[in-house]
């Protein structure tokens, strides 16, 4: 590559300012492994395929639409749902009145995993991380007063897609809205569930078939409906860097396309209805470039299937600001973080956006925090005058170069996946999961050393944190309300009709019938989400994940001041010498919360620090976790909670331990736990609570102190 004619002169000037050091000392190696220089010039763009193209035209780097926000700004679509359908419905009405344009429904974990609210496994999860939906009656309440022929509704559902999508369709029918009038998106991206979020029900094979069935059904009857939202968001939240997010998401996309083609569909009947969902983190220019690069790559990847309709290779995406980047400490800073990330998404050219509430590291959004979040993007959209120009960063030497680097780095990983036989096969080998976990462990190590700055967490910490705003609590009565309604529905419906419909659904599962079509009569007959899921589970089985953990990634990245780490290693060794074994910790996740990033990092880092770490399977009941703690004879159980189940699940675990004679076993908790709940947990016997962002050496040190006091004291 040639250099700017006066480059040498500049380099000398710069070097002089740095007291003689070479300018390349200013280079920065990003977590993606991209070398970023301190200065870019026009020469960097020479011969670049992705630079200087036009919006609305292949390869779509500059946006899928010709006019982008100059014509119509992105859709403000806030994701929300909690407690009962009635509560969520009231929340939606308020949000729509205040300027929100589309709805986006969050379901609780019981619903995701296809359990009715009265199932004993999910007692701690009802209405917590989203709204509880058990039947079409709940769906009707959820959308009460919301005209489904006009409102575009997006639903984050992957596991129980069949009963939920069918529920939405039937709720619309009963509003008098026909199938073809429905517009919106269902996430329906099961592959990433096996990678990160774990809210699947069935094994990959049948799950892929469900997706093809939905695409097929919708392509003929619901032409305005997006049948899948291929999501990188959760990968980013699990720790994937921007290149990994891009590569794995697009590779997932290719896998869905292949599945649909295999089931006999024509590319142009479904590909225009594929949409994407990216997560946007704090690395400003990186993630702007990521969206641009993703559009280029998707165009290139789709070309292999020879679509006739240009829309088939056009990447349209929803974006969400990163929940993981929000801190529990000094939480008002989160408003600023979210604003930055919103700008990133907008400058990257997103089609719709969710901005997080500043209190999400603490609890569920309140009316107040939701308003701030919504206004964050309204202000960007309506006050900042940003919308007038399409892809305003197009032509920036830096952004174009970064876009190009992401394209080539992500392409390498996509090729690697292709060699493994596609994403489904790659997931089987565990490769993507390991890469994400490795990336997460590295990131954690950088943060714990202060090399990645997080204000209020590892720098500029507040002396004393206090919460001077309300935190939303989901009342414990949600489950009772749901159970009562389930009883009522089961008492008033035509039981023979339900059984027949469910038997038909099971038969369709066995005989390759269209599952969405077959589920509609069952929903109309008031079969529940759990019953419909079971009717298919009887054929498909329930998927059980294998948890693998990498070791070494955390400590290998912890290069700088390893004083804190060495000290803990010394202490674990002393413990071993005095107690005859290493401190032994069981990390467990109870309830239906499938977020396993924190839990895995803790396992891998603590082992690096000299603990013996047992990891439990996901989705444990307190009783199961206690059995494991007793059997493995651990010193301490670390319960990870990110989905608001802590107040029932953790005290229940302590009870179960006592029952089995294991009262000596200490219990500590970590995750998203509102500070207001700490005392409640301490009172029920929890010895320490580690909020999000607690550096590993700190939590490990504290846990170790507890053990030293007890055993060496």
């Amino acid at each position: 590559m040639s250099k700017h004619p006066e480059y040498q002169k500049w380099a000398e000037l710069a070097s002089k300012q740095m007291k003689g050091k070479a300018v390349d000392k200013l280079d920065w190696m990003t977590p993606e492994g991209i070398n970023v220089k301190p200065l870019y010039t026009a020469e960097d763009l020479e011969g670049m395929e992705s630079a200087n193209t036009l919006p609305g035209m292949a390869p779509y780097v500059r946006g899928p639409m010709a006019t982008m926000y100059a014509g119509r700004p992105w859709t403000i679509r806030q994701y929300a749902g909690f407690s009962t359908a009635k509560e969520s419905n009231a929340f939606y009405h308020k949000a729509l009145a205040a300027g929100q344009k589309g709805l986006s429904v969050a379901f609780d974990l019981a619903t995701h995993r296809g359990y009715d609210s009265d199932h004993p496994r999910v007692a701690g999860d009802i209405g917590k991380a989203g709204v509880a939906i058990d039947s079409v009656e709940d769906m009707k309440i959820l959308f009460d007063g919301i005209p489904l022929d006009k409102m575009s509704v997006s639903m984050t559902m992957n596991g129980a897609v069949i009963p939920i999508l069918a529920g939405y369709i039937v709720a619309a029918e009963e509003q008098g809205v026909s199938h073809d009038q429905l517009s919106g998106t269902i996430q329906n991206d099961i592959l990433k569930e096996y990678l990160t979020r774990n809210t699947y029900i069935y094994p990959p094979g049948p799950s892929m078939r469900i997706i093809s069935d939905i695409m097929e059904f919708c392509s003929t009857t619901m032409p305005k409906y997006n049948t899948i939202s291929i999501s990188g968001y959760h990968m980013m939240e699990a720790g994937a860097n921007s290149v990994l997010q891009t590569a794995f998401t697009l590779a997932d996309g290719v896998e869905y396309v292949k599945a649909a083609l295999k089931s006999g569909m024509d590319i142009d009947t479904f590909a225009p209805r594929l949409s994407f969902f990216f997560g946007i983190g704090m690395n400003f220019f990186m993630d702007i470039s990521m969206l641009r690069a993703a559009r280029f790559l998707w165009y290139r990847l789709m070309s292999q299937f020879n679509p006739k309709n240009p829309k088939s290779s056009m990447l349209r995406t929803h974006c969400q600001t990163s929940g993981w980047s929000l801190t529990e400490q000094d939480p008002y800073n989160n408003v600023i973080r979210t604003t930055m990330e919103a700008m990133t998404a907008v400058l990257g050219g997103t089609q719709s956006l969710h901005t997080n509430s500043f209190d999400e590291a603490i609890g569920l959004p309140t009316d107040f925090s939701a308003r701030i979040a919504r206004n964050t993007q309204i202000i960007v959209q309506e006050e900042s005058q940003i919308c007038h120009v399409i892809d305003p960063l197009g032509g920036s030497y830096y952004v174009e170069s970064l876009t190009d680097s992401i394209i080539s780095e992500a392409q390498k990983i996509i090729d690697e996946i292709e060699e493994l036989g596609g994403m489904a096969k790659a997931i089987e080998t565990g490769m993507p999961k390991m890469r994400i976990e490795e990336s997460a462990a590295r990131k954690q190590a950088l943060i714990d050393q202060g090399l990645d700055v997080i204000v209020g967490v590892n720098k500029y910490k507040l002396e004393d944190e206090k919460i001077d705003f309300d935190v939303r609590e989901v009342p414990g009565t949600v489950r009772d309300e749901q159970v009562a309604r389930l009883k009522e529905i089961k008492a008033t419906r035509d039981q023979t009709a339900v059984e027949k419909a469910l038997a038909d659904l099971t038969a369709a599962a066995q005989n390759d019938g269209n599952l969405l079509e077959a589920a509609l009569p069952a929903v109309r007959a008031r079969a529940t989400v759990g019953e419909i899921s079971d009717a298919m589970e009887s054929v498909f089985g329930r998927f059980v994940a294998t948890t693998r953990c990498i070791s070494g990634a955390y400590s290998s990245e912890y290069k700088g001041d390893s004083g804190a780490i060495d000290e803990i290693k010394k202490r674990t060794t002393t413990f071993l010498e005095k107690q005859g074994r290493r401190p032994r910790l069981l990390v467990t996740k109870m309830g239906q919360d499938g977020h396993d990033r924190g839990f895995k990092i803790v396992a891998s880092a603590y082992a690096d620090l000299g603990f013996d770490v047992d990891i439990s399977p996901m989705f444990q009941t307190p009783e199961e976790a206690a059995k494991m703690a007793i059997e493995n004879d651990v010193h301490v159980v670390g319960a990870s909670s990110l989905a608001a189940g802590h107040k029932s699940l953790i005290p229940a675990l302590i009870e179960e331990l006592k029952k089995a004679g294991g009262e000596e076993i200490l219990v500590v908790a970590g995750g998203v736990i509102p500070p207001g709940d700490y005392d409640f947990l301490f009172d029920s016997g929890v010895k320490a609570v580690f909020g999000p962002g607690t550096p590993i050496p700190e939590s490990a040190g504290k846990t170790l102190t507890l053990l030293e006091e007890k055993y060496l004291g």
Binding site: S551, S555, G580, R581, D608, G610, D612, D614, N632, A660
Partner: protein, 331 residues
Amino acid sequence: MLKSPEEYVEGILSHDRLALARTITLIESTLPAHQERARIIVNQLLPHTGKGIRIGITGVPGAGKSTYIETFGTMLTEIGHKVAVLAIDPSSSRSGGSILGDKTRMEKLAVNPKAFIRPSPSSGTLGGVGRKTRETMLVCEAAGYDVAIIETVGVGQSETTVSSMVDFFLVLMIAGAGDELQGIKKGVLEVADAIVINKADGDNVTRAEIAQREYETALHMLMPNSPNWTPPVLTCSSINGNGIDKIWETIKEHRTKLTDCGEMASKRKTQALDWMSFLLDDGLRQWFYNTPDVKKALNELQKDVESKNTSPTAAADMLLRFLPTIGSTTD
């Protein structure tokens, strides 16, 4: 609260999970006081051991050992057995801490009231695997578990140690990597009582069958371990359960055959004697190397040998001369 060895013994004999778990901790402890206590407990339990079936399972990482045990163990509990699983995880060498994730792959068995699963860090020392696992197995038998399954990763020498403490040693293989015997040493095949090609499902069935024939040929060339038993090569799927019951039939057949001709009894006797001599060797070594004089001299002599100031023979000779003088310095 468990205090005296008698309380532990009582707990174990009344099938108490906690007592069993805590006893295993004592057995695994590196503290002499704990080991002493464990010895007393194990001694008192000995009369209650010996009736169970002991199965060792090895295979390369990812061969599906844990998944196999999940399916196999669950089947055994369904037909009335109580199953103890001892899983030995390799320690991370860097700091010595381990990630013990076996139960994540034995999700059903982990919560099964008729099963007891204990993953153990191998703590780097391979001798440790043998010593501790054997005693743990005995304690599990005393606690009412009539089938004990030991999982080891087949990459070190731990599997030969394990094979010398079980009745039936099963080597789990996967198809496709057959030619170089998948990093499993030939020695392991020599002690196998059966070879099982796992993951014979989906589009892998044919490949598994081909591998089956390959291993049959390979086994033909080896001297059988026992005059009364020819190790079969079987296939199974730990995911869909095909072939799992056949393996159990094989294990039972092996047991009947070897019991009838008396080989089982003599095998266990030999194992007990081997065990004693192993402990003796191990004790002697520890005793010798832990003597302060020896430690000091060893350190210096190593340097001398390196710098060629002393010959290896002379150095060893000098060290061994400490033997008569270290009478009672044992701890």
